[in-house]
Amino acid sequence: MNGRIWTPSRQSNAVRAFMAVLRMDSPLWDWADSPALASWWVIDSACGIDVTALTSYYDQMPGKPEVAFLAAQPGSLPHPAWTLFKPPVKSSLIFDWIKQRQPAGPPPVDRPTPSFAPAMPWRHGLLRLKRWPNPARYDNSLEFTVACSRLLGAPATYAQILEWGIAAPLLDRILQDALAEGLLDISDPSPAAAAIRPEKDAAAATDADTSRWGLIKRLLGKFSLK
């Protein structure tokens, strides 16, 4: 069994968040380009996948992968050997799922184990930005702006931020810089900490707020921010 994951929808935020959680466990998890080369599949039912074709392919495989099926409806599991996860998926459930199927721990890969975990402390805690990083340093202005704006307003975990649609390499760069510059708070991701500042109730938004977000939307439609 290897640490390679195949998915028919690598752009899915739920799939990316799933991978981000796995990489918290071990940096050696990686994508497989072909389903036959992977020991693990992650299928997001929201991505318009041909599930019938997948299940029959799966049934014909000699050595079968472990399959995580992401779906909102409990009754929608297409194959009894697969495991249903309801997004947003709790990281503890993913870790349990992996441990049950792979008692040996992290996937055995030939590369020497790099010391990623201590070098990327933001992948573990609850994150909050104290100030804006300098946006001029990052080339994707839209992803940068959305992620930083939300992290200034309320704390979130690394996996949650990935679900906002930012690419992991850009996010890692922003967080690494912010940490080095003293702009990032990392705290214990306990449920109590997560509940400190719940997101603002949409109904409580002021008129000024509404017109501000309206303007932001207009500008996004008008200018392709590079």
Binding site: R131, W132, N134, P135, A136, R137, S141, T145, V146, C148, S149, L152, G153, E181, R197, S211, R212, L215, I216, R218, L219, G221, K222, F223, L225, K226
Partner: protein
């Protein structure tokens, strides 16, 4: 404000800062219409000039616009830099949706300029959606350069962005506007211990 722009634009983005820093340049970089000085828009603004009185008729502010497909317009305004035209600031700033404060990042006076403008903006309720944009610096300038501006700005709005930007480049100007607009309200965070007006006088810790 409605006197001037009422039927044209419902929201305004304002550029402030010292003379020559690049406000007009930035306006030109992103405006959909040719940027004009209000002195040239006599018919459109005669009403305003009348309302402000004779002394102000010799100065105008720069005016540009974004036009959207549904017919909506957003005004882009470059403030006159000289304090003697502060009647214009009084009129234009309080209703702004966002303010970009442009500063000479390469000048020894930049922090003093920054404090002066932050005071002027605060007095006119214009720091809620603010970005402080430092010109004439490399984009990847060191954090040590930005830190004193971040600190000073935090006395007026704890989350306001400080960035490096080039008024000649549309993407850079848009970035400054976007981060100003996207800054969350400061309310959830504890306010600064001392009110900004008092802090401004005696802050020597940079």
């Amino acid at each position: 404000m409605n006197i001037v722009l009422g039927h044209r634009a419902t929201q305004q983005v304002v550029f402030a800062g010292p003379f020559g820093v690049g406000k007009t340049t930035a306006l030109r970089a992103v405006s959909d219409i040719p940027v004009s000085n209000t002195d040239e828009l006599s018919s459109e603004l005669s009403q305003l000039k009348n309302s402000l009185g004779k002394t102000t008729t010799t100065v105008g502010f720069d005016y540009g616009e974004w036009n959207f497909s549904d017919g909506a317009r957003v005004g882009l305004i470059g403030l006159p830099s000289q304090e003697r035209f502060s009647a214009m600031w009084d009129m234009l700033l309080p209703k702004s949706s966002a303010v970009v404060l442009w500063l000479y990042g390469n000048s020894d006076d930049a922090l003093a300029d920054c404090r002066f403008w932050l005071e002027a903006l605060t007095q006119r309720q214009a720091v809620t959606r603010l970005a402080v944009a430092l010109t004439r610096l490399p984009f990847d300038v060191s954090e040590e350069t930005l830190a004193p501006f971040r600190h000073l700005t935090s006395l007026y709005h704890p989350l306001a962005p400080v960035l490096t930007a080039d008024p000649r480049q549309p993407a850079s100007v848009m970035q400054a506007i976007m981060v100003a607009l996207s800054t969350p309200d400061a309310a959830p965070f504890p306010p600064p211990a001392t009110p900004p007006a008092q802090q401004g006088k005696s802050n020597d810790e940079f």
